[in-house]
Structures are given as structure tokens and as C-alpha cells.
Amino acid sequence: MKIAKVRVVNVTKRFGDLVAVNNVSFEVYEGEIFTLLGPSGCGKTTTLRIISGLEKPDLGKVYIGDNDVTTLPPQLRNVCLVFQEYAVFPHMSVYDNIAFGLRVRKVPKEELSKKVRELAEVLELTDRLNTKAGRLGISEQQRIALARCIAVEPEVLLLDEPLTFADAKVREKMRRELKKIQRELGVTMIYVTHDQLEAMMLSDRIAVMNKGRLLQVGSPIEIYDNPQSLFVAHFIGSPTINTIEGVLVKERGRFLVKRGEVAIDVSEFMSSYHNVESLLGRNIVIGIRPEDVYLDVNGPIEGVVEVIEVSGERLAIHIRVFKELVLKALVPIHEIVSEGERVRLSFNLEKVHIFDKATEEKVVLSRVK
């Protein structure tokens, strides 16, 4: 049974003419890592600040547990916010940093010491307790900031892009540390990031935001496999999903997506759905993830390899199919392929997504049995 720890209900926040958060509602379950994800200016940080109490919503309510906290000041909400800049006290020892909030709350000395040492153990800071915090690296400073927050046992831990200033390698390691720590302590976490991979790797569930609106909430797999809008399809996944824009037409019994010289035959895909005819003549966008495009000597589509992108554990091959269309295919890193090479492609037709060009929403088709 999932218990809602935080509920954001119909929250709107304006700054002058700008609607930073536009009628947003979601629930965060107890013990999960919930991430607000979106590009700069999408409203994710404002939403987090509204939960923390640093901003008041113009409309709507925020609940923590069963309590309406909408008008409560931050210090009475029992939440703790970790910022981009960890704001550890550089001249204090790690011990004093972690103990800070406990001292403010006048926790008895023995209990305080026990608590600090327990947390230091979990966060692997035990042998650093006497070191000045300012002398440590960013991975350690982040753990100190986390420990200081966790020490006061907040109901919810709020994190605002805490890994922004780490480089790519360190960030990857810190995501793993953070998730392990959360699993060990079971604390409810709300996390804000613009980095989709970070959200995918870290979260139990993700809320994708754009221009103040909440577009979709789901597990990483749901969001990735079943994007409900073109924006989510584009924003989630690296390399970015392939999109083919055009009008759906039927010529000599075949379904084609056409635009200018681009013409892609989607008959095999379309024939497995009922209400395809209703789409004819409409502007649509076909989305297909790079891992669902294959180099296939017998494939129906031909193109020239333009760029080979190293994408983590695989290569993303960018293939120019038409002057106006480049498709990406993911291949294993050991695959031998070179720039300038002529290749043929096929799609995994099971994995094609269709969006309406005008509304940018997913087109729902009913499958032929």
C-alpha cells in the first residue's frame, strides 16, 4: 500500500506575467525518490520551493502527511532542502557540520553523538569526522550536506540539482551513492534536475515538466517506453528519439509519411491498427528510439553514416537518409562502421510512437487482434 507523503494539489504560482507553475498536482509516496524533471525555466525549482515553504503558491494546496502546510513557514514544515551549493560550513569539522541541526534542536549530547556517528557510518564519512569540511572534495561535501539534513529526521528531503557542479564522472558515481543511501535510510526524497539521465538513474518515479505544466508522471520505464507527448518523447532518452514529420497518405495500398522528398513506408506498422484511416491526410510525427533502429543489410531504408557518437556503452550512428532527415541507430561499441559508409536500416515496428503534429499529443490507436 502506497502512502502519500506529500500532496501538491492544483498549485499555481505567477511571477508578474510569467506563470511559473500552472495548475500542477501530484503525489509523492512515502519512501520513494520522486524527481521533478524539465529544462531550465520549466517550473521545477519553483515547485520544490513551494513544497519547502520558501515560496507561497498563488493558488492550490500543499500537504505533508495529513497536514495542510500551504501557509506554514519553512521551519515548521519538517522538510530539509539541499541546494546546488551544498553550503557546508567550511571551517567547521565534518562532525560539527552534521551535528549542527541537532544542536539547534538542543538534542542531548550522548544522543547527538550517537546519531552523528551512525550517519557518518552510512555516508562513509567516519574517518573524516574531525576534518574541516572545506578541505574535502565535492562528493564528500555533498554527503555532509545530506547527513546534516537527514540528522534532523525530516519527513521529506528536498534536493535542488545537488550534482550540477560535479563533472560527468563524479556525477555518475554520486547518483549511485545517493540512491544507495536513500535505500538504506528509506527517507522520502524529492529531487530536481534538468538532466534526464540523472532522473532515470535515480528515481522511483519522475514528473516531467515544461513551461510550468506537469506533462507526465511515471516510473522511468513508463516514461521512456510510453511517452504521452512529443515533448516527453524528445526530452527523455539519450541519444534523443528519432522523429519523422509528415502527412500520412495512402498510395497504391501503402501507408507513407511524406514531407518534401521524405517518404517513409509505415504500412507494416499501420496495418496492425484499426483506426488508421482516420489519420490519413493529417500531419503526424513518428517517434522511434535509436535502439529500435537497426543496421540491416535487407532493410528498406538507405542512408550514409554521417557522425558516430559515443553514447555510454554503445555507439549512436547518425545516418543521413534524406537531405532533411537524419536517423540515429544504436549499435554495440565493437560494431565496425565508419563515417561516410552507405548502410541500410530497418525499424522495430512494435516500438513506433505516433504523435499529432498540431497538439503534440500521442495518437491513440486501437490494435488489431
Partner: protein
């Protein structure tokens, strides 16, 4: 003869050695990517090539001519920084035209060049706008246009994508590569992100603590790292590294890690007694099965992190944890029991002291 050559360059700031005997060449028309973590000496190296700082020792050659003491503006190079100083009170056009106006180029020629470069970089729409209205990607492209408009002999790019959002960075990296293929300007590109370097570079130099540890084509570096630190640096997600022992005899290399023994075929010339080594394997080179098969190792799933097309799982085996890339078709949960398949060919072995590869 190489177009640009950095020969045995060292740089000290006070007691601190920032670059140690760096030698490299850049061929005409290629992009040499300099990849290394923050603080590894990338920016210092670029500034030395640009002439903005002098090396403590070593020389720089362009077309075989020693340019070490030639001042920056005579070299005819352009440099784009992480935070390029785009003039906030001037339009996109004025920003791009600025270096040409410094050269007193006739207005008609300036206009022609600015429009040409703006079209090439897809930023004609920002020419009349002030920088405060630019997106991050547009801002970087204006800075790049300003660097390219003078037709530099060498373009130096110092982490130009660092401050962009992840999604825009990915797009811009491929865009830059396409642009480079089109215009063919000889470039040195520095980045802390190994994947960006491997995507953009015609060749890649991995620089760690001021030393070039490996220089080669992207796929050579990726598939055949010569050094543990290089392997560790270019591997994303993070490389699995284990302490163990190994011995080599009669074409076999036997590696022992914790309670696991792995046997790998090697050249019969490789022979040594049992000794301590470091063994490394990438998460993408390990696989899992859900039921026991002979030769598999039993473990427990400790953590799952989704990547999109697949997931990264941390799996606990006795006293060690190993990270594995798992395709989405294999459904697993945290806490599940699972069996690991290690292909010995994918295990690389390094010397404990020198960190050099020893299983070749």
C-alpha cells in the same frame, strides 16, 4: 609534417607542475579532442597553444615553424572559452563582426562574412538581437561564429558546451561535429566529458594529471586502453575495478578475484609467477542470466538504475559488488537473485604500480 605540433611542453606555476612533457601533433583539418577531468591541465595546454601563456619548457610549431614566442594576435588562432565574453550591449551581428572591424575590414566585406557564417551556424535569426535574449545554445554559437569569422588557422575550443543543459549539450556535440566535417577547420577541443571527446575528436588525447596517457582514434581508446586510468576515465558507466592476483603460463592467464577464478587466453610469450594485479571490466561487458548455468556466479541485485534502453544494476557477489548493464528485456528487481556471466576476453589486467596493461 604535422600542421601543428606541441613538443615536450611542461608548465609549472610556482612549485606546481601543471603539464609534464606534453607532446602531440594536430593534422590539418582534424579535431584533436583533449579529454581529462577538471584540473588535468587542458585549459593551460590550450592557452599555451594560443600564446596566452608561455610554457616553462618545450616548443610549439605551426607548419614546422617555431611559434613559441610569437604573440597571440599574430598566430591567427581563435579561441572559444567555457564562458565566452559575448558583449551584452551589442547585437549578435556586432558581436560576430567585432574581430573583423578590429582589422578595419570594409563594411561590405564584413557584412558578407558575418551573414555567411551566421547562415552556416544557423543563427541568422539572432543577428539583430541582444545576447540577453539568446538561449544557451545560441550564445555559444554566436561565440563560435565570432571565432570562425576570421578564418583562423587553428580553432581552440575550451569546454564550449560545459554550461549547457544536458539535452542541449548532446545536440550541440553532434552539431559541432557536423559543422567541423563541413568546414574542416583544424581544431583542438577540450572537454572533461570523455563521451563528448570521443564523439567530436578525429583523434583523442587523454590527459590525466598533466600527462598525455594515450592518444589515438576514438574507438581505439575506447576498446584498447593501454592504462588503467585511461580505461577508468573513458568508461561510463564507471568501470568495475578489482584487486586480485594473476599468473601467466603457456598461453593462459589465470586471474583470481575474491573467490572467483577467470582464465583468459593470452600470447604464449606472456609468462609470470603469481602476483598482485588489478583486473577491470566494463559494466557493458558483463551479462546476467536469471537461472543458474555452469560457469555463472551467483549474486544478489543491490541497486537498479535505469538508463533508457537498458539498466545499470549493482550486483553483490560475496565481498565484491559488480555493476552490469542489463537489457530491459530481462526484468529484475532490487533484492532478486541473479547469475553473472563473465566473458574472460573482456577482463583487462593492469600492473598494480605502473597501471599499464599486462594482458596483451
Amino acid at each position: 609534417m604535422p600542421f601543428l605540433e606541441v613538443r615536450d611542453v611542461s608548465k609549472k606555476f610556482g612549485e606546481k607542475t601543471v603539464l609534464k612533457n606534453v607532446s602531440l601533433t594536430v593534422n590539418r583539418g582534424e579535431v584533436l579532442a583533449i579529454a581529462g577531468p577538471p584540473g588535468s591541465g587542458k585549459t593551460t595546454l590550450l592557452k599555451i597553444v594560443a600564446g596566452l601563456i608561455s610554457p616553462t619548457s618545450g616548443r610549439i610549431y605551426l607548419n614546422g615553424i617555431d611559434i613559441t614566442d610569437v604573440p597571440p594576435h599574430i598566430r591567427g588562432f581563435s579561441m572559444v572559452f567555457e564562458n565566452p565574453p559575448v558583449y551584452p550591449d551589442r547585437s549578435g551581428y556586432e558581436n560576430i563582426a567585432f574581430p573583423l572591424k578590429l582589422k578595419n575590414m570594409p563594411e561590405a566585406e564584413v557584412r558578407k562574412r558575418v551573414y555567411e557564417i551566421a547562415d552556416l551556424l544557423g543563427i541568422r535569426h539572432v543577428l539583430d538581437r541582444k545576447p540577453s535574449t539568446f538561449s544557451g545554445g545560441e550564445y555559444q554559437r554566436v561565440a563560435l561564429a565570432r571565432a570562425l569569422v576570421t578564418n583562423p588557422a587553428v580553432l581552440l575550443l575550451d569546454e564550449p558546451l560545459r554550461n549547457l543543459d544536458a539535452k542541449i549539450r548532446e545536440y550541440m556535440a553532434v552539431w559541432l561535429k557536423q559543422l567541423q566535417l563541413k568546414i574542416g577547420v583544424t581544431s583542438i577541443y577540450s572537454t572533461h566529458d570523455p563521451l563528448e571527446a570521443l564523439t567530436i575528436g578525429t583523434r583523442v588525447a587523454v590527459i590525466l594529471s598533466g600527462e598525455i596517457k594515450q592518444l589515438g582514434e576514438p574507438l581505439t581508446i575506447l576498446n584498447n586502453p593501454v592504462n588503467l586510468d585511461v580505461d577508468d576515465y573513458v568508461s561510463i558507466p564507471a568501470l568495475n575495478i578489482f584487486k586480485g592476483t594473476a599468473k601467466a603460463f603457456r598461453g593462459k592467464l589465470v586471474i583470481n578475484i575474491d573467490k572467483v577464478s577467470i582464465e583468459k587466453n593470452v600470447s604464449s610469450e606472456l609468462q609470470f609467477e603469481e602476483r598482485n594485479v588489478i583486473a577491470a571490466i566494463r559494466p557493458s561487458d558483463v551479462s546476467v542470466v536469471k537461472t543458474y548455468q555452469s560457469g555463472t556466479l551467483s549474486g544478489k541485485v543491490e541497486l537498479i538504475q535505469y538508463l533508457g534502453a537498458n539498466a545499470l544494476a549493482t550486483i553483490r557477489l560475496n565481498d565484491i559488488a559488480i555493476r552490469v548493464i542489463i537489457p530491459k528485456t530481462i526484468q529484475i528487481n532490487e533484492g532478486d537473485s541473479i547469475y553473472i556471466v563473465l566473458d574472460p576476453r573482456n577482463v583487462r589486467v593492469y600492473d598494480v604500480q605502473s597501471k599499464q596493461r599486462i594482458d596483451l
